[in-house]
């Protein structure tokens, strides 16, 4: 079961527990491993407090301060939030990120799903194709690939060389404000291998008997695809969608390297995270950066919640 599925189960069980009365018994009987449990969990618990919950509280506080690392934080009330509201550069970076997420993720997932459906049979060369498609997603986040991308989409790069064969003179894609973001979206699509692997695993788990039964009932190929494959795959599509959106919002390395650390040309690849990094670590506006981080968390959280709500209408759970 996926992590999202687990969360669903836990929520459901918690709801059920509320209804039924708890089994009677001493704490010792209900939780026989309390001591061992907490001992084994200790490193994780410390990590949770010191590196997650504590810092979350701290950055929540810093978001309302002016803090440049050198002097102690100064309470500034809503100043950071007011500044964010009026910061056109921030809204531009938000827009760039939204475009990246809402164009890049669907394209990536559509390709992943299409290829997975294409591959899902005991076909010859399956593992070869799978490896070839998976390899880029392992390397896609690295600086080396971002460097390669700069050259592939450069004025004298590979893409323009291919276009040259058809006597089209392409622009310098990376240096053009209209196209630079597109190259990053293509880089994201290029890493479709990881969701593809998840789709492949999902396809394998569809019980063969459903297809057999459908064939007996005279269902054709198309019908089987839309009535069996797609419905049973919707939880996996949903899982991929939620996670890829969350991750795409946090992309940083590719935009940083492809734009040479500037987010340019004319802020066209200035991802929200890149702007946040600049505010925090080149301007030393730690308070403002914390406010931005919380804004990001709220946006991602709201979007994920919306996605969950939406899933009621299209995701089919077999259980």
């Amino acid at each position: 079961m996926s992590s999202l599925g687990e969360l669903r189960t836990i929520a459901r069980e918690a709801r059920r527990k509320k209804d039924s009365s708890l089994p009677k018994g001493s704490l010792k009987q209900r939780f026989p491993d309390n001591r061992a449990g907490y001992l084994f969990l200790l490193p994780w618990l410390i990590g949770l407090l010191v590196f997650t919950i504590g810092p979350m509280i701290a950055s929540g506080y810093l978001a309302f301060t002016d803090y440049n690392l050198l002097q102690p934080p100064q309470w500034s009330g809503m100043d950071n939030w007011a500044r964010m509201f009026n910061d056109t550069r921030l809204w531009n970076s938000f827009r760039v990120t939204i475009v990246y997420v809402f164009v890049g993720v669907p394209l990536q997932l559509a390709l992943a799903l299409a290829v997975a459906l294409f591959l899902d049979r005991g076909m010859r060369g399956l593992s070869f194709y799978r490896s070839i498609f998976y390899l880029p997603s392992l390397m896609g986040g690295s600086v080396a690939i971002a460097i390669l991308w700069r050259q592939v989409f450069g004025k004298e790069g590979l893409v323009n060389a291919v276009l040259g064969v058809f006597s089209i003179e392409g622009p310098g894609w990376i240096a053009h404000p209209d196209y630079a973001l597109g190259t990053l979206i293509i880089l994201n699509v290029w890493t479709f291998g990881s969701p593809m692997i998840i789709f492949l695993a999902g396809l394998r788990q569809i019980p063969e008997m459903y297809y057999e039964a459908a064939v007996m009932d005279g269902a054709g190929k198309v019908r089987r695809f839309f009535s069996i494959t797609i419905p049973l795959l919707t939880p996996i599509i949903f899982f991929n969608l939620v996670l890829q959106i969350i991750f795409a919002f946090q992309s940083f390395t590719q935009a940083y390297i492809v734009s040479g650390g500037t987010g340019g040309p004319s802020d066209s690849t200035m991802f929200f995270t890149l702007y946040l990094y600049k505010e925090a670590f080149t301007q030393l506006n730690m308070g403002y950066a914390s406010a931005m981080a919380w804004f990001l968390l709220v946006v991602i959280g709201a979007l994920t919640a919306f996605n969950f709500w939406l899933s009621k209408f299209w995701v089919f759970y077999d259980d």
């Binding site: 079961m1 996926s2 836990i10 704490l27 209900r30 939780f31 491993d33 309390n34 061992a36 449990g37 084994f40 969990l41 994780w44 590196f51 979350m56 701290a58 950055s59 459906l117 294409f118 899902d120 005991g122 010859r124 060369g125 399956l126 593992s127 998976y134 390899l135 880029p136 997603s137 986040g141 690295s142 600086v143 080396a144 592939v152 790069g157 590979l158 990881s194 492949l200 695993a201 396809l203 394998r204 063969e208 064939v215 007996m216 190929k221 089987r224 494959t229 991929n240 969350i246 940083f252 390395t253 940083y256 390297i257 990094y277 670590f281 950066a289 914390s290 990001l296 968390l297 991602i300």
Partner: protein, 316 residues
């Protein structure tokens, strides 16, 4: 998705030709399928078309990587004059030049990256397996709540903890050391691997643990002598993923390691981009290839674990 014209066949035949998909099959050890029967030219034409499509897609996917490798072996002046990957004019001079072009030899960056990767792997293996055993096998107060929190942290954007973490490490005097990149791993901050291992331990037969318990083994022994030896696949997956993520990590080293001697490979590569005006493309490509070789080797060796681990938990 079905490519064969099954509908035209009587049901019994159709059933046998619908390829058997074993549930939860390991992709690499699927039993040999019965050979498909010859069903006229249309099916073989379709199969050829299918393979042609897949091969073209493979070429598009892989071509940039091959071009990178070939370009790194071309003389600098040739790289953009001739973009073909077919050339006989190959040289290693980009590699020798790139290795020393950053004041500090590239081996220093490789070593720094390696040390961090090994530290992170050790940390993740120890802390995540302990936590996973507790979540999967022990009954203690608040387990479900903790488990839900753990799952939620997988999805938490790290930016909300970024600034305070930076301040903590700065106060501790850990800037310019590997500690900010390694110590959190010993406290299971990569919750994703906890989840991966929980899934794995749950799949092991319960009787094993009960038998050990009846024999009087304590939890520490059950963990060390029963669970860990059975967890080798999950451990391998964790080690491989941790390596790939740490090796490719850019953000962490970028903010914590700012002097050249401490650079990791990713931050050192950024140096080539910064110096683009005077840039030596050949050297930049050559060192990019060097940085990708460990990833590629791990991919070759660990592909099996990667694909399986990944399919069960689903995060890149």
């Amino acid at each position: 998705m079905t490519t064969e014209p099954n509908d035209a066949l009587p049901p019994e035949t159709a059933m046998t030709t619908t390829t058997a998909r074993p549930m939860l099959a390991d992709p690499d050890t699927e039993p040999a399928r019965p050979r498909r029967r010859w069903r006229g030219p249309s099916s073989s034409v379709r199969s050829v078309l299918k393979h042609l499509t897949l091969i073209s897609l493979s070429i598009v996917m892989i071509y940039p990587l091959i071009w990178l490798v070939v370009s790194s072996l071309k003389p600098n002046s040739e790289i953009f004059r001739n973009l073909s990957i077919f050339t006989t004019d190959l040289t290693l001079e980009n590699y020798t030049h790139g290795w020393t072009s950053q004041q500090v030899p590239f081996s220093v960056f490789l070593w720094n990256s390696l040390v961090i990767a090994i530290g992170a792997i050790l940390g993740n293996l120890i802390s995540c397996s302990l936590a996973a055993y507790a979540f999967a096998r022990l009954k203690f107060w608040g387990r479900n709540a903790y488990f839900a929190i753990m799952l939620a942290t997988i999805m938490l954007p790290f930016h909300v903890v970024l600034v305070p973490q930076f301040i903590i490490f700065r106060e501790l005097g850990w800037l310019e050391t590997i500690l900010p990149l390694v110590v959190p791993k010993f406290l299971a901050t990569d919750a994703f691997f906890v989840f991966l291992m929980v899934q794995f331990i749950r799949s092991l037969p319960k009787e094993l643990f009960e038998a050990a318990r009846i024999d009087g083994a304590g939890h520490l022994r059950i963990f060390g002598q029963v669970t860990l030896p059975l967890m080798v696949p999950a451990i391998a997956t964790t080690a491989i993923f941790t390596f790939i993520w740490t090796w490719g990590d850019f953000f962490g080293p970028l903010i914590y390691l700012r002097t050249r001697d401490n650079f990791t490979v990713s931050v050192a590569l950024k140096g080539f981009v910064d110096a683009q005006s005077t840039s030596n493309y050949g050297a930049m490509f050559a060192m990019s290839v060097v940085s990708l070789i460990p990833l590629f080797l791990v991919f070759l060796i660990g592909q099996r674990y990667l694909i399986k681990g990944f399919a069960t938990t689903g995060i890149k």
